[in-house]
Symmetry: D2
Subunit: 314 residues, 4 copies
């Protein structure tokens, strides 16, 4: 039961084990490649892919990933992540701290739509495969729409009301989505990606718009979900890569705010007060002298200060 | 559709509305009470309760909450939250930053057992009420064990393997649990709390230990879950209050590390290397000259640097 | 040079060493005290003190610390920390995440005034001691004011414009400050604290108000700085303890927002747009065909999409 | 003094103003460019530059930035940022949370060397300019070394002991540095960058190695500081861009840990205990019955639990 020092050192080493990076004095290998061979020869998106997947992507795969990275960098100060980044620097945080507080909120609701959309596509992909429309043959649009309707009905029953990746509270048509989808189509035409998830994505739009007077168009999250799915990323990495992209906007806004200055900047100009909706002003009761000694602590015997505002407000 | 400036200002004010605090020049009211009446007259746990619940607790309620707050402050540097706090200060973070990075990880797995245990108790409470054993009458132990078994079997089917709040990978008996439960019993005897959740908690221990050679005893999370449930807190606040408590340990360790010094302190002494388990060292292939211009970026025509370690290692 | 497995295990153990907590199966000792003896017998502020300082405070010391903890819990949704906490939950974060993003911003500007004020008091304390007014004798008000003026002039020269802990952009008189100072006076009268820092704090108010038409009164940070200094805490812990207090407000607002609902809630109602002050809309130039292949990446040969808004806006 | 609703709405709009992004229904402009024109046509490093600087870089500038982004992605699990990322996911955090806790620690000590090195270079640049060696003429190595010695001596006097960006506790020669510097030389030869900061960087190495038996070579931070300085970034953005790069490693390790599994993973295997160096086990004294009622709180009259471990350990 007790372990020898040798076994303990072995256990300590194993506690931290990784396939990603190998470091020795003067030598750094990333996924096996000497770092000095990678620097200046592969692109940043290729490095992102290598780190996450273990092997290098083709040029076309990297280009598609790059387009998605470019597309999602920012959506302005009304986005909580961006606002938090800006507010943070006015509190004294350096860029790392501002980025941390902001990236943290890219959670299920604010940063998770892409991941959820990838899960939706994956369910539809599985539904299709199960019914004989596997990835080996081209996918007919009608089959995709039928599967999308089935799966979406199932999600609906489970309580999901809005299809993640579709519709936008602000944009009638998100200008990023058709552009991204067009790039997927280009690569599908070249045979570099299958195009299966572009078909599935469009089928979801068809399925959820059926019977509505207004189409519910694919948005940025739906389009990047097509791209990440085409490229074989796991849904969780849909969120992870989105964060790498949005980090650029978070940094740029933190930096702009640093230059604008401002101290302890709240969400609204202090000229507009917030709304208090709670209890009206009331006095703290005296501690009950009978048996509740503990209720108020040691200072309680001191005379309670009278409310200095009573006269004022009278 | 377009709104008047008056309506917009109204909307801005409503955007931030709260029952908690009312502030005017020279006046601060917390849940209606003038702040200067609260200072020095109510205890910190009473203030915590007032902020979270809207009204003041009795002395006994506050004492029970206080005992739980005292119990959970720390579990040493093997806890990731504590280790992260210490590592953070060696990276240059001030105390606020160290606390933020550490508190962040008190998530479902590391900080959520208490909340999950409260949900388990609540399910058992509902099961009992549904079968005629509502909160108005004393709860018989046998009824509680039967309901606990039923509910636990249901959780098991849903895939939950370990009862949150019970068992400990380190302590055969967690010394905090019986002490906390004893305090609940004292107040139940005085009629200050119902004792219903203490009975339910013990019933869970009974139910999950049935048929095992070794009992699975209630741990700190199971015991504080009893307390928070007795006091009427929502399960989410079980996690919230735990964080207020553990923050003390996180701060104390950050401060101790500040005084110990150390820079960029990793998880283990650098004398013990981590284990690399990935691809062996390999050369980056040259870019394919035919039609894949994009594969490696603009510097790719430069001769690839030879691996300087090849000779060394040869 | 190479170390034996025994030495490595020793080094690993030493890597994480602490005076704070000792844990063995079934035994938890905090600063030497068995945890089950502390639970239910010491107050939460006493536990905070024990964790940070190593020994238990007297009842009066704990009461004074408690008053400061009660005083600082909240300052409403215009405070960035509180706003961030509320925005975070609308992004999907659980309470731990909301608290982390919010606590993180309690940095030099938003959470550091108390710490800076303690440093100011400490400088004045040292100035006094150096000129023969050490802590062993009662401190005359005039001596304190003289030293405060000297030290403040020095800070001014170093570029500090506003005395940390004095004045308030909102409150003409912060109602928390005189109440806290009164509690210090009570304990000084009892001989439980020296009262030296209360005198120093008041002397700063005198010194910085000299020659002004309106007094610059001590605020909450100046008053808690008096308390923490009287109690012997290091300036950094002034910030640390403030965070423990403000965490309560951060949690309460996160919880209120959870119950209010709302998704991806930005800083202002979306009805009020932010102000764009940058470059007017412009077309991306085509890549220069001569020798700048690398400028735009692989898709660049595709015809640039025309700006779909051109017609609209024409 | 009181403002009209129109003025308040105006103030609210101005509260959030930005040069970065302009958003209207169906239209998103980044620094004036329609987003759909940027997607698929500019690279991710070009987008990073556009967001931070306001205009697009040349292809060569973007390539140099890209090389630096590729170089800094990871330095293995002994780096606190990477370890924290991995520990975080074992606590239940999704990728955004793990990244936030980790990025937060890229502060002055762990993530600030590049920024500090840029400040050092900038000081030397100013020293040179002041002495007639401005940026308009080529910089002689000897002049650079003289200025570097002067400035470094000044930093030394101010208490800086180690030159940020030089030397490495692990690598005798950091394999990333010469490769990055070589890329700068290539572009300087083409006239795309001035090469001034490469000369300054090498001069620092010369100056700080003078009189030492072993050279203190430029490391990754010193080399990326050369690049960011050549490209005209502010020192703070040296840290900011480093974070964009290291985020990739933080994400990749979080993802690998997600797949490895593990729960509440501390810094070391639990088989190796940490070292307790504090007070030996001791009993909590009884509350002093005379006049110190407040010392221990309401439960204190209950008999103190005897230390259950006393017998054990006896």
């Amino acid at each position: 039961m007790t372990q020898s020092p040798e076994e303990l050192v072995e256990a300590a080493q194993n506690w931290w084990s990784t396939d990603i990076i190998d470091i020795h004095p003067g030598k750094i290998g990333v996924r096996g490649y000497p770092i000095e061979q990678l620097i200046g020869r592969i692109s940043f998106p290729q490095m992102i892919w290598l780190m996450l997947r273990g092997e290098l992507p083709s040029a076309d795969q990297a280009s598609l990933l790059e387009a998605a990275l470019v597309a999602s960098v920012d959506h302005g100060p009304h986005a909580p992540s961006i606002a938090i980044s800006r507010m943070s620097v006015t509190c004294g945080l350096p860029l790392n701290g501002a980025m941390a507080s902001a990236i943290n909120v890219l959670d299920d609701v604010h940063g998770g739509a892409g991941q959820q959309c990838m899960e939706l596509y994956r369910d539809i992909d599985a539904e299709l495969t199960e019914h004989g429309h596997g990835p080996d043959a081209p996918l007919a649009e009608a089959d995709a729409v039928a599967a999308a309707s089935t799966v979406w009905a199932r999600w609906n029953e489970r309580g999901v009301k809005y299809a993640p990746g579709f519709g936008h509270r602000f944009h009638p048509l998100d200008p990023r989505a058709p552009r991204l989808l067009g790039l997927v189509d280009d690569l599908a035409a070249k045979g570099e990606v299958s195009g299966r998830f572009a078909t599935i994505g469009r089928a979801v739009e068809e399925a959820i718009s059926a019977g509505r007077s207004r189409r519910v168009p694919m948005n940025i999250d739906g389009a990047t979900a097509v791209i990440y799915s085409e490229l074989g990323f796991a849904p969780e990495l849909g969120r992870g890569i989105f964060i790498l992209s949005r980090s650029v906007g978070i940094l740029a806004h933190a930096w702009e705010q640093t230059n604008q200055g401002g101290r302890i900047k709240g969400p609204m100009t202090p000229k507009i007060p917030y709304r208090y909706t709670g209890e009206p002003r009331r006095d703290l009761p005296d501690a009950d002298p009978s048996g509740t000694e503990g209720r108020f602590f040691s200072f309680h015997s001191a005379a309670a200060p009278s409310d200095p505002t009573d006269t004022e407000s009278a």
